[in-house]
Symmetry: C5
Subunit: 95 residues, 5 copies
């Protein structure tokens, strides 16, 4: 999984019918030191994440293993809101 910060929302009214009702969030990938990267992904939200929250997202076929995204044309899903992580014994991020 990769770490990201939810930076916005996206609306698509004309879409694959299977995607009806899903929330699309714009997620900026962040590094393990909590700094921003230049990589973005549009991900389906499976956990009720809000703008500004730090999340984990899964890509590829694994993005279809949530209740919400099963058998849907979705290749990125937010599957966890991050509380905290540490690296080399130092706490890097606390929600």
């Amino acid at each position: 999984m990769q770490l990201g910060r939810v930076t916005g929302t996206l609306v698509s009214s004309r879409k694959e019918p299977l995607m009806e009702g899903m929330t699309f969030l714009v997620v900026r990938q962040i590094d393990v030191d909590n700094s921003d990267t230049d990589t973005y992904v549009v991900a389906v939200d499976a956990v009720g994440a809000g703008v500004g929250e730090v999340v984990m997202y899964a890509s590829g076929s694994s993005a279809r293993q949530t209740e919400l995204t099963k058998d849907k044309p979705c290749d990125a899903v937010i599957m966890g809101i991050v509380d905290t992580w540490e690296v080399d014994g130092e706490t890097v991020f606390v929600k």
Copy 2:
């Protein structure tokens, strides 16, 4: 999913029989600030997108989860036409 702008069309008459009848579009990936990138993909159109439209596309096995592309040798599909998105509270794009 990634964001892209449909920039053209592609014709392939000799192809895997399973791909008969599909529309192939040339999609230029765009950044979250709506600027062009140098990355292109040839994607199957599952939503009736036209040249110039801004779309979302799914890659990999997720590209086979639309009605049209199920069990087909397709690794990129346009699965939504984008109406609008916002980043950090600013509207970046409106259709």
Copy 3:
């Protein structure tokens, strides 16, 4: 899918039995302006492509969705020979 030009052939006599009888082609990825890139892939040929031809190829699990490659350890397949494409209203390539 990505665009490529078939640049050569590859022979492997000792291989996974499931790959018996397949034709392996060396494909150079090309850009949407029909220029060469430095990226190559060895792909199975599902459409009878010849050296020099411009093709589309699918990667990952989608490469196993042709008759020929079903359930085979193949991660790249040529699934279409390209006749023509256009970008921004200009024809870039004609076979």
Copy 4:
């Protein structure tokens, strides 16, 4: 598979229910010469790896082929703790 060094842990209390009980580890990818790279991944631990250990991890759909991660929205799993490897006849790493 890629090689990595476990550098930390991550906690996510609000997550996809299917991910309950899993241990998330922050893994820094290492090169074949045992030097650090700048690439990190958050992986599920399927083998009881500890911080500091050198491991192999699998990505994509293969990350869902352990007992623990089957049918879960997980795209990276630690599936082996590395004892040793050698390159060009030289031992590079010993646990």
Copy 5:
């Protein structure tokens, strides 16, 4: 598939039980001109490749389509030993 040269071996005694008995090889990716790249992968050997041999390997879910790797957490498999290939009418490599 990508081309690689087997450069070493790796031992992992504590691993996912499903991976018992597999041979892990360190493979250096090579370019189509037979020159070394800086990219390495740890791959399962499905064809009895030896150190120094030039091979093809498949990645992702396709790496689980050999007899040996079926339903295993394996994302790279050596599925062919290369005899020869040619590019633009020139033979680049002969075993």
